[in-house]
């Protein structure tokens, strides 16, 4: 009943309750409770999207205290897209994890998973700068916990590296928030935007916030923590981290950027972000080409793909409305395509590693004959990452390309094209290994569960289908709201 009227708080209540229950319930009930939770999450997400589409952005005052005294939640088109995206990706990853993890490992997986989802939803809906900080820390600890989950040397090292980088990033963010509060006397995004005052204090605050968030998004050259964490975690965790977790800080960056008019006042920072993006594309691609470990190839590809998303920032320029719209749409579509494709690719890579029992690329020989379904999933995801038509990645790059031509910043076109060639190179390199035949050992491969192959395939197919149905998410994010008004 209350779910029907206001689904927004339920998007937080369900995962938080899920975390509590899965900690306490006996083993056999955990998976059942999680399945129920996932279903109700999907229902709540769809209900809220329906509301947003029907009657515009929704504001929800927590505890009935209006912002800026209280904390408000806000659901607009962009937030809805991210909620739906995380619902789709997390539920498929959960399905995969159910077969992937042994029963006693699952016991601790579920609460971490639910905390992760709760913090993601909390961030998508947040409209308060300090609340975003707490959400970000919840996300960090959940993600670090999931990385450390395997409890071996490599994952422990990765989790410590990740934790330290993330802590520094969020402290930088908090320092920025402290300055903003001292200068404006408010923490709510809406009232900040309303009373926004440019001056040295705000400039330094914005610099700190952007710096902290860039570190948390693993933007080149602050990316060194990402490959070990994403490459060393258990497969469903890698997929969640690459597809969703790094998007959280990126999402915050985007909201601040547009709603607080940063693009208008700090154009040099925009160009800097674009340059960092270009650096990420080339460095990430180059490093992906040099890895011998399958999941590290995929992890470095994430570093490169973050670069494409950053390209939207220099293209969001005041006074060039059309180019900015295209850049906004292209950037978001890029992000969505990457979330689907990368989750699919990580799951497919995990399946391949189960087959061979080894993490190396060398071991993949003969795989294309033995596991065509998984190779197909890997390939489809690769098509989207390379940006070949008709995938979601292609549509996104096309939009970014048009935007850079329209705004006269042709050099980003060069970056886009060269970067795509580089991604093609590292993906075909993986393929080359799978077509190799060794012949000696015979085919003594293990077989992953069918559900694991199907989840990987579903995600990859979705990333391709996105190319045909790109209009749906683009319409969703273009629904009127404060964000769209602030967009140049």
């Amino acid at each position: 009943m209350s779910l029907m009227q206001s689904p927004m708080p339920w998007l937080l209540v369900i995962p938080l309750a899920g975390a509590t229950l899965t900690m306490l319930l006996p083993d056999r009930w955990r998976s059942a409770a999680s399945a129920l939770g996932i279903l109700s999450q999907l229902v709540a997400a769809l209900l809220l999207s329906y509301q947003v589409i029907q009657s515009g952005p929704q504001i929800y005052a927590m505890g009935n205290w209006q912002a800026p005294l209280g904390i408000a939640l806000r659901a607009d088109g962009l937030a809805m897209l991210f909620i739906l995206m995380s619902a789709l990706v997390s539920s498929l990853c959960a399905l995969y994890a159910q077969s992937y993890l042994k029963a006693e490992k699952r016991a601790n997986f579920w609460p971490l998973f639910w905390f992760l989802w709760a913090s993601l939803n909390g961030i998508w809906l947040a409209a308060d700068t300090f609340n975003l900080y707490v959400g970000l820390e919840l996300l960090t600890l959940a993600a670090v916990g999931l990385v450390a989950f395997a409890a071996d040397e490599r994952s422990l090292e990765a989790s410590i590296r990740y934790l330290y980088a993330a802590l520094l990033g969020s402290m930088g963010y908090l320092l920025g928030v402290a300055l903003l509060y001292g200068a404006h006397g408010t923490l709510a995004l809406d009232s900040l935007a309303e009373h926004w005052h440019w001056g040295p204090t705000s400039q330094v605050a914005v610099t700190l916030i952007v710096g902290g968030l860039l570190l948390k998004t693993a933007v080149f050259p602050l990316h060194t923590w990402l490959p070990p964490a994403h490459g060393g975690a258990l497969t469903p965790v890698s997929a969640l981290l690459s597809a969703l977790v790094i998007k959280a800080s990126f999402y915050m960056l985007l909201r601040f950027w547009i709603e607080l008019d940063i693009y208008r006042h700090l154009p040099s920072l925009s160009q800097l972000l674009g340059i960092l993006g270009a650096g990420a594309i080339f460095w990430g691609g180059w490093m992906a080409l040099r890895q011998q470990h399958l999941k590290w190839v995929v992890a470095y590809s994430t570093v490169a793909q973050i670069g494409y998303m950053l390209l939207m920032f220099p293209l969001l320029t005041a006074g060039q409305s059309d180019a900015s719209q295209l850049a906004y749409q292209g950037g978001i579509l890029m992000l969505l395509a990457h979330a689907l494709a990368k989750a699919g690719m990580f799951l497919a890579a995990g399946n391949l590693m189960i087959c061979t029992g080894k993490p190396d690329l060398q071991a993949l020989a003969g795989m294309s004959r033995y596991r065509p379904l998984t190779i197909f999933a890997f390939g489809l995801a690769g098509v989207s990452l390379m940006g070949l038509p008709p995938s979601g990645g292609f549509s996104a790059k096309w939009l970014l390309l048009q935007s850079s031509l329209l705004s006269g910043q042709w050099w980003w076109v060069v970056v886009l094209v060269l970067g795509s060639l580089l991604s093609a190179a590292y993906i075909f390199r993986v393929f080359a290994y799978t077509y190799r035949e060794t012949g000696e050992e015979g085919d003594r491969f293990a077989r992953p569960a069918l559900s694991m192959e199907l989840t990987a395939l579903t995600l990859s197919v979705a990333s391709i289908l996105l190319g045909f149905a790109a209009m749906l998410p683009l319409q969703l994010i273009s629904l009127p709201g404060p964000l769209m008004e602030a967009l140049p």
């Binding site: 929800y60 927590m62 904390i71 992937y100 042994k102 709760a118 300090f130 959400g135 919840l138 001056g199």
Partner: protein, 317 residues
């Protein structure tokens, strides 16, 4: 005079911070860090923030210091500490550059502070009568911004959850014996009740004075840790379920209260008319117990001997 006190405090703060950072011996660094907590709680009193002073005293001088000391003991027990590699020139340069830039930017920002457009403390004062408590900070934490507090407790639960995840199931409990010192045990019979009473006092004081669930919970944890160190084990292993239930109880009660009003058709995290004060006390009571247990678990959880790095493949499928 007042300004002189502030400058002297600041001087001490700087000296202690530098020493805790650059001291050769890591033990000395930790002692200085504990001392820094002490100075900071004085600073918070000077800043008219007694709630934070209280929290800093329990945390800085108590919990964090103990955790650091204990980890240090653990590192020493396992053998000679490896010699620290001396940081490279490049690292020094980078660190200096980053920190000087930061300090420069911050000073520039602070010197150009505009007049804030909104006076939030005024709004807090206006809404205080409806909040169910008389102490503005408790009102902010458990009513106006209770959503933040809910997530914050989530962070604590999460930390202990990760600790439990890393602990292997069949590992023996904490191997270190308690101290066989008769005077210690005699004093504890006096000190532990005093600590429990103080925790109760801090919890109760939170309604109209500085204090509250976190300070009380940390005090409780200090009492638990003292008991643990002297050899009395609140064994989590004997009844794992009960322990876990204790850890999430505070979070669970908080969430349950918030959801109950949601089902009753009111917004999330509201309190029914008139019962705000009572419900806040109930939540704080549950939070205090849970925070005490969580901090204790974070202290004990990492004491299990090394679980050999098992074959990674075993976890998969």
């Amino acid at each position: 005079m007042n300004e002189m006190i502030d400058w002297l405090l600041l001087l001490g703060l700087g000296a202690v911070a530098i020493t805790s950072l650059m001291s050769q011996s890591i033990f000395r660094a930790v002692v200085f860090f504990i001392l820094l907590g002490l100075l900071l709680s004085l600073v918070w009193i000077r800043l008219d923030a007694p709630d934070i002073a209280l929290a800093e005293a329990v945390i800085g001088a108590g919990i964090t210091g103990i955790l650091l000391l204990d980890t240090l003991g653990q590192l020493k027990k396992t053998g000679k500490l490896t010699t620290e590699p001396s940081p490279s020139r490049a690292r020094l340069g980078l660190a200096l550059l980053a920190s000087l830039t930061l300090v420069g930017l911050l000073i520039w920002a602070v010197l150009h502070q505009p007049q804030p457009a909104i006076a939030l403390h005024q709004q807090v004062a206006d809404a205080l009568p409806e909040s169910g408590v008389d102490h503005p900070i408790t009102a902010v934490l458990l009513n106006f911004r209770s959503y933040d507090t809910l997530l914050e407790i989530g962070v604590l639960v999460l930390a202990v959850l990760v600790g439990l995840t890393l602990q292997s199931k069949d590992a023996p409990p904490d191997s270190l014996p308690g101290l066989p010192n008769p005077l210690l045990h005699a004093c504890l019979t006096l000190l532990i009740p005093a600590m429990l009473l103080t925790a109760a006092y801090l919890l109760w004081a939170g309604a109209d004075r500085p204090g509250g669930a976190f300070q009380a919970g940390a005090m409780l944890a200090a009492a638990f840790i003292l008991l643990h160190l002297s050899g009395t084990r609140l064994s989590p292993r004997r009844s794992e379920f009960l322990m876990k239930a204790g850890l999430v109880m505070g979070f669970g009660v908080f969430l349950a209260v918030a959801v109950s009003t949601l089902i009753g058709g009111r917004p999330f995290l509201t309190y029914p008319d008139g019962s705000a004060g009572m419900l806040i006390l109930l939540i704080e009571l549950a939070l205090t117990l849970s925070i005490g247990l969580i901090l204790l678990s974070l202290f004990t959880v990492a004491h299990t001997p090394a679980q050999l790095p098992g074959k990674r493949r075993q976890d998969e499928q």
